[in-house]
Symmetry: C2
Subunit: 188 residues, 2 copies
DNA sequence: ACCTGAACACCGTTCAAGT
DNA sequence: ACCTGAACACCGTTCAAGT
């Protein structure tokens, strides 16, 4: 039974590797099988078809992302409680990732697209984001009266920023400045 | 030569139809050829490979989107110049589209993902968004001192909203209220 | 329960050939 | 310039069979 868990992990890791390097379009059951050292048919014994493999992979991937968010949030709150302004700046610097720079953004891109065609994936993606919002609300409630409004501003903004950051008239520094100003103005 | 233009349009329309209904993952050269009434090899005469077909399709699709944006903006500015607040509300209602509701969002989703793997598509996407930002700056400059800041806020927000709208703690109405308040506060 | 290999219909791309 | 059809390697899925 431990061996089986290992096998499954190997398969999901192999899938993530191919997905982030080559995209969903170039991912095949045969490639995954090869990278994970199984025969095609044996891979299909564990995951009956490609859809099921994708669903399992996305869930597995999200779990690791959850851990990362938790760590980052803990790191932020652990720091010797700076001013609200400094904390907001750090948070924004964390959230506003320039698109295409990281494997992570590539993975999310692939996952979004896949989820728009698959109901079960869509549910998994929504569950992840809802949890992510809750984390943020918890963090922000330490300094704000209306964390839900701030989260409703920050989360979509960060997602969109990853996509269109390189066409915006303002650079990242100025944008963070603006966003901090806006959020602080909400508290009055 | 007119006949050729027609042929190309048929091909690109067929590609858009399949792309928005079934996704890039289920789009094949053979399906496009069938829907556009050509043989596979003849389709490949017009578009040597799938990549070139996708690039041409995205450019063609963006042109029609440009026209739509232009029309919408004209419609907004034509209306008997209301207060800044009302105009902002209308603009936000236009920009904040709930994800998965429209073929358009599905198309953009597919295009984003494809463009992250293809340099030429990426360039086309950037050109489209840059132009889109310019339109918005033009519109917003009629009532704001700092249209570039507002565009840098609105454009990413609208893109991200299409993705995560259904997990946000605030509903659309409250979000629009919040965004209008924020933008108005920028003018002081 | 875990694993194999052959077979099927489909895919993108190449190529030699026709008009 | 426009179009055809065969061939190639690859794909997801099914299935009958082994341990």
């Amino acid at each position: 039974m431990d061996r089986k868990k290992e096998r499954l992990n190997e398969i999901l890791q192999a899938t993530i590797t191919i997905l982030s390097k080559e995209g969903a379009e170039n991912l095949s059951m045969r490639k995954v099988a090869k990278l994970a050292n199984l025969s095609l048919s044996n891979l299909q014994y564990y995951y009956r078809d490609k859809d099921l493999l994708m669903i399992a992979t996305v869930k597995y991937y999200f779990e690791s992302c959850q851990d990362e968010v938790t760590d980052a949030v803990n790191l932020l709150s652990a720091q010797s409680t700076p001013s609200t302004e400094v904390l907001l700046e750090k948070l924004l610097n964390m959230l506003l990732v320039v698109g295409k720079s990281s494997d992570k953004i590539m993975m999310f891109q692939e996952i979004w697209t896949l989820s728009s065609r698959n109901k079960e994936l869509e549910t998994a993606v929504e569950a992840y984001y809802k949890n992510y919002c809750l984390w943020l609300i918890g963090l922000i409630s330490s300094f704000s009266r209306d964390p839900e409004a701030i989260v409703s501003l920050l989360v979509p903004y960060a997602e969109g920023y990853a996509i269109v950051s390189n066409v915006l008239p303002l650079n990242k520094e100025k944008i963070i400045q603006m966003m901090v100003g806006l959020i602080l103005s909400m508290e009055k």
